[in-house]
Subunit: 257 residues, 2 copies
C-alpha cells in the first residue's frame, strides 16, 4: 500500500499538534429588581447583572472570571455549556446562545485553548435560590457596568463586551426580552426590561407602536382570563394595567423595506 495515501488504518491525528482544550465560557445575564424605597406602589429599579466566579486555581488564581469549563469528547459544545450552567449556576432550561470563539494564540497560559462563548438569560429568582444554597463567597452577581471595569481573568472582559453588544442587538431585534419577564407582563415592565439592557432605548409612543401598528401588532397579545375578559395587574400602579404575553411571532427586519 502506498504509504502516502491516508486512510482509516493509518490515519494518525497525533502527528499534528492538537489543541490542549476546548472549553465553553458562559456569560450569564440576569436582571435584578429592587423596590423603590417609597412605600407606595411603584415600578422597581432594575439592573442588568452578570454572574462571575472567583478562580481558585492557577492561572489567574483569586481573580474573577466567567463560569465555564472544558468540553468532553462525548458532548457537543452546547451540551458542555448546559452542563456548566447547571454545575456552576444551578440552572437548567434557560435561554442560551453561542456567539463566538476566542482563539488568539497566547490567550490562555495553560496552552492552546479555544474558548467557546455563550450567553445565557436567566430570571433573577433562579439564581437567588442557588446563591443561598452555597454560602458562596466565590460566586457573585455583578452589575455589568462594574464588571466591565474589573480586571477579569483571561480575555474575559473582551468576551463580556462582545456578549453585551450581542444581547443588546438581540434585545431590539428579537423577542428575547421575554426571558427576563413573567409569562404575563405589563407594557411598562417590557419597556423597563428593554431599557435596562439597552439604556439608549427610548420610544415615547411605545404602547401604541407595539399594540396598534399593523407591522408589529402580533408580537404581543392581550392576556385574557377564562371568561375572555382582559386580565389586569395593579402590581406596580394604582390604576390596573393590561397584561400581555408574547406570541410566537417576530417580524423579519430589513433595511430595504
Amino acid at each position: 500500500m502506498d504509504p502516502n495515501i491516508e486512510n482509516e488504518s493509518n490515519y494518525n491525528p497525533s502527528k499534528y499538534r492538537t489543541p490542549d482544550g476546548a472549553p465553553s465560557d458562559i456569560v450569564i445575564f440576569t436582571i435584578t429588581s429592587t423596590e423603590k424605597s417609597t412605600a407606595k406602589k411603584a415600578l422597581p429599579i432594575r439592573e442588568l447583572q452578570v454572574l462571575l466566579i472567583q478562580r481558585k486555581k492557577w492561572p489567574f488564581e483569586g481573580q474573577w472570571a466567567l463560569p465555564g469549563g472544558f468540553c468532553r469528547e462525548t458532548e457537543s459544545m452546547y451540551e458542555c455549556a448546559q452542563r456548566e450552567l447547571r454545575e456552576e449556576a444551578g440552572v437548567t432550561d434557560v435561554h442560551m446562545e453561542y456567539f463566538n470563539v476566542y482563539s488568539k494564540p497566547g490567550r490562555d497560559p495553560r496552552g492552546w485553548i479555544l474558548s467557546h462563548a455563550f450567553f445565557a438569560l436567566v430570571h433573577e429568582q433562579w439564581l437567588l435560590k442557588r446563591r443561598a444554597d452555597d454560602d458562596a463567597a466565590d460566586v457573585r452577581l455583578v452589575p455589568v457596568e462594574e464588571a466591565l471595569r474589573m480586571e477579569l481573568a483571561f480575555d474575559h472582559r473582551e468576551i463580556l463586551t462582545d456578549a453585551l453588544s450581542k444581547v443588546r442587538e438581540k434585545m431590539l431585534t428579537t423577542t428575547i426580552a421575554r426571558e427576563f419577564l413573567p409569562e404575563e407582563f405589563t407594557i411598562s415592565e417590557l419597556y423597563q426590561v428593554i431599557q435596562t439592557v439597552v439604556p439608549d432605548f427610548e420610544e415615547r409612543n411605545f404602547i401604541r407602536k407595539i399594540t396598534s401598528t399593523q407591522s408589529r401588532k402580533g408580537i404581543i397579545e392581550e392576556a385574557k382570563d377564562r371568561h375572555g375578559e382582559p386580565k389586569l395587574s395593579n402590581r406596580y400602579s394604582q390604576r390596573a394595567a393590561q397584561l400581555y404575553r408574547f406570541t410566537d411571532f417576530s417580524p423579519q427586519l430589513s433595511i430595504y423595506s
Copy 2:
C-alpha cells in the same frame, strides 16, 4: 508544596482528553453573471454559487466538501480561515465572518474534531482567475440549490444550510450586498443581487424607498464625477441609469420602533 494545588509548574494538560483537531471550514459564496442570450442590452442572469472541493483522502474520499483545514497553534481561527481561503480558493481580502462551531460527537470519523464555520463573500472574477490557474477538476462552483441536494462530506450540508440562512438574514439587515457589487452600481443591480440571495425579496417601490425615505436615505448615495455631475451607466440598458455607492451608514433595526 501541596500536590493538590495546581499551578504553572505542575499543570499538565495531557491528563485530560483533548480534541484531535480544530479546523475551520469556509462556505465561499459568489454570484455568477451570465448574459442573456438576446443580443440586446439586458440585465444578466445571476446565480448564487458555492465553492466545493473534491476530497482526495480518507475520510469521504471522492466526495464533495467545503474547503477548510486544521488550525495551527500559532494562528487564530480567523487567521486559519484566511489562510485556507488563500490556499484553496486563491483569494485574499474578502468579506469573511465566523458564524458557528460544529461539535456533535461523531461528526468526524478521524476523532474529536471541532469545525469552526465561516462564510466568505467573493466577487466572481476573483474565483474565475483561480479556476483557470489550476485546471482543477477538484474545485467547482456549484449553484447553492444544487449543492443543498448533494451528499456532502461530514456535516457539511448542515453547515451550508446554516451559512445560507445567515447570509440571507445579513443580506436584508446589513449592507453586505456591497460585497457582490462593484464600487459603483445601479439600483437594478443592487435589487438583483438581493433577489439572487433572497429569492423571496420583493419590493415594488424599491428605488423610492432606498433613495427618498428619511430613515433609509444615507445607505447609498449618488456617484458623481469630478465636476460634481451625476454619473450614469448604460451597461444594462438603453436609457442610462444613475450610479450609486454604499456609504458607511447602516441603520440600527428594531422590532420595537
